[in-house]
């Protein structure tokens, strides 16, 4: 359906082509490397704009804990630059290329636009928490900035947060500035075999409620039971000490063991590998309060099952199941019954084009959303229909 992909080489070129599209009544699909093109609803656009021509780290001051990069910069390039100084992207964004069958790596602009965070989110915040500055082009072709290059900034409305997670529907992000932190020197994991999911959540909650700074809390169902994993990241002496304390404390939930150098386990969880979704299955992400997670799994198992992976202490439930409208409705019902939210994360185009991939907003908020969209993109030419019809 897309006639061509345009690859602008500068922010000004992005602005010019948005102005041209507005003049010609064209709709634009906005992407980086297109690695998450299959996320949410299919975009109803005539042309595609890729930010992959806008690359490069524009500022990196390790001692100020700040890095800026153009939107099309591949994530691995940024991670490598940070690693040279022993630092990392705090929210641990996932690499979903396997999940989405993408051949090129995610870009920093794409990760910010989709606000995707890994297991460390539970302890250190999401991508949206660390976007300190943003440059973007709105739907009128105007270049604007929000935030800046400092760690603490409350000057004006926080459009960094509004744009983060807006999936390119309010502006084309051209450059982002992130807070970064020193990467831990060691990673240890306490793993607990539990008999039920309820027990698993109780173990994760106890771990997160301990004074040992747990930075990952995931539950991998296995049959009726599960394995709960709690991660400690810090200097190696601290990791050894706290893992020991935590294991002793966790023994009340089941057999607890300590694993060191467990980065690969958490990288897998970050990228939803243990979910074991097949290429044909649809994938959902359900957000609930952790204590409600076992209920969500039980409700879905009762209506035909699925595969599950619980992260963020149980607050994030990954679901893989047959890509059908019935399965989608079951997930929606389970999420809403648990007073949570959901995203149809990956599905064949026919399914994600025909159902609500995110919950609808209440009328008062939907009205504000329409007015905000009208401010940022009055002609509705940026990623039309990506999140919801008209959004």
């Amino acid at each position: 359906m897309l006639s061509s992909t345009i690859v602008p080489k500068s922010e000004d070129a992005v602005a010019s082509l948005v102005i041209a599209a507005a003049a010609q009544g064209e709709k634009l699909a906005i992407e980086g490397n297109g690695s998450k093109r299959a996320l949410l609803r299919p975009v109803q656009a005539t042309r595609s704009v890729s930010l992959r021509g806008l690359t490069g780290i524009t500022l990196y001051h390790p001692t100020e804990l700040i890095i800026s990069a153009r939107a099309g910069t591949p994530l691995p390039e940024i991670e490598a630059a940070l690693a040279e100084h022993g630092q990392h992207i705090i929210a641990e964004p996932p690499d979903l290329s396997a999940l989405f069958g993408a051949s090129r790596p995610a870009t920093i602009g794409g990760i910010v636009a989709t606000n995707l965070s890994g297991p460390r989110r539970i302890a250190w915040g999401a991508m949206r928490d660390h976007v300190m500055g943003i440059r973007a082009v709105n739907g009128k072709g105007e270049i604007f900035r929000s935030g800046g290059r400092v760690l603490k900034n409350v000057t004006g409305l926080d459009l960094c947060k509004l744009l983060t997670g807006s999936h390119g529907t309010l502006g084309v992000i051209t450059e982002v500035t992130l807070k970064v932190l020193p990467a831990p020197k060691a990673t240890g994991t306490v793993s607990i075999r539990v008999a039920t999911l309820e027990q698993g959540i109780a173990a994760l909650s106890a771990g997160l409620g301990s004074p040992f700074s747990v930075t990952g809390a995931a539950l991998l169902p296995e049959g009726e039971g599960a394995t709960a994993h709690l991660r400690i990241e810090d200097f190696s002496e601290s990791v050894a000490y706290r893992c020991g304390k935590l294991r002793d404390d966790m023994a009340r939930f089941g057999e607890a063991t300590i694993g060191m150098d467990t980065q690969a386990l958490w990288q897998g969880i970050r990228d939803a590998e243990p979910l074991g979704a097949t290429a044909e299955e649809a994938i959902w992400r359900v957000s609930v309060q952790p204590s409600a997670a076992p209920g969500v799994v039980a409700a879905l198992r009762a209506v035909g099952g699925g595969k599950f992976l619980l992260d963020w202490g149980g607050g994030l439930v990954w679901v893989a199941a047959h890509a059908s409208e019935a399965a989608h409705q079951a997930v929606v019902a389970a999420a809403l019954a648990a007073q949570g939210s959901y995203t149809l994360f990956r599905a064949p185009e026919a399914l994600r084009g025909s159902v609500a991939v995110l919950p609808d907003e209440v009328p008062a908020l939907a009205a504000i959303a329409r007015r905000v969209k009208a401010v940022m993109d009055p002609a509705g030419l940026l990623n039309p229909g990506r999140m919801r019809a008209g959004q």
Partner: protein, 486 residues
Amino acid sequence: MIPLPAPKPEVLARRVQIVAALQAIIPGDGVISEALRLKPYETDGLSAYRQPPLAVVLPTSTEQVAAVLKYCNAHGVRVVPRGAGTSLSGGALPLADAVVMGLMRMNHIKTVDYENRLAVVEAGVTNLGITKHVEADGFFYAPDPSSQLACMIGGNVMMNSGGAHCLKYGVTANNLLGLTFVTIEGEVVQIGGTYLDAPGYDWLGIITGSEGQLGVVTEVTVRILRGPEGARAMLAAFDSIEVAGQAVDAIIGSGIIPVALEFMDRPCIHACEAFAHAGYPLDAEAMLIIEVEGNVEEQDRLLGWIKEICNRFNPISLKVAETAEESLAIWKGRKGAFGAVGRISPDYLCMDGTIPTGELPFVLKRIGEMSASYGLQVANVFHAGDGNLHPLIMFDANNEASFHAAENFGADILKLCVEVGGCLTGEHGVGIEKRDLMPVQFSPLELDQMRAIKGAFDPQWLLNPAKVFPLEGNPIFATIPVLNAA
């Protein structure tokens, strides 16, 4: 003085009817209209500006808030939301034709849920009140602004308040899950919930720090965290600001994330020492307070490493607290910094820019030069980990020329902050104080876009009017004559 728009004569003329309508919504003593009782609401933490409002309402429920907003929206009455009134930027300064909506009677902690590590609290619960409520169980609410004894969570949300421990725990925006939000139309909306990262537009993110421009928050779902096993501070003093700055860089560069990293300059050290007798070295040009967390062995190890790093920069004093009491003593001076400066000079302006931390020596040198040329003393405290600078400019409020000079000095400091790559405000908000400096940081287009987003929430511009956005560009105030508040 920063100009305020003239009140709407038609609203002033309807004062009696408006008060009667508000009393019908909030029975009992929840509506204040007598001049004497309005007095406490005429100012906030920026006490140089005073203006009694038309009336004050003290709702006790979200329903009352919604009904008042609905009435005000229908009748074109401006509304100024207020928590404890501790804003240092004049965020709660009334207008003569505005109704102040004080949320202090909504002060209940509704839910504490340790399993899910959250608490649902009403907007008028104090910041410290949340921590006090959960600390016996080992939990705390992380953001800790200096005013935490008095300031309220609703105000914290509206100003996106920070504190001394942001480097590790983040600011208010990073510690919220959900809000009960009331639009100017009186619609009650649940934003977020009890879970992380609701999909869709980040309303929680845009409302937090919006300074009352978008709506009124009546309930807040905050994340509560389990505290560490312990924490301990050390003090390091240096004979030059540059060297202290290098030590900060070396600490951050080493991979240690201190939970707090505070910097004080010579005038501030002297003021605090005279006030708190904390044992600060009076011969130092700059002093750092560095705090780490963990069990005793972890603290010892981290403090040992930091001590080693500091030793590379020829400190003139290094003191590692051996006990929690010694740690408190080190903090005592810093925590009393504002009071200490208040003792030297009863009137001071507390500025709040943020700078890239590497620019600190240059910025402090320039502030020193400005201090000499304005003939006003200044003391500097600085959250060195995150670049948030608080120059305290001392002046004499009884001398109008002195106040004007202090305001101009402050504006020059904030312009300097922007010039070196920083921003006008790190945690106090724009309010009335920094409103007219906004064009220093933002282009006309950027300001207009923010104004339009404000208008998307509040089409008549009734909410917390005349703050944040310079008047001349606003759709409502551009044609209204202005007058001075004081």
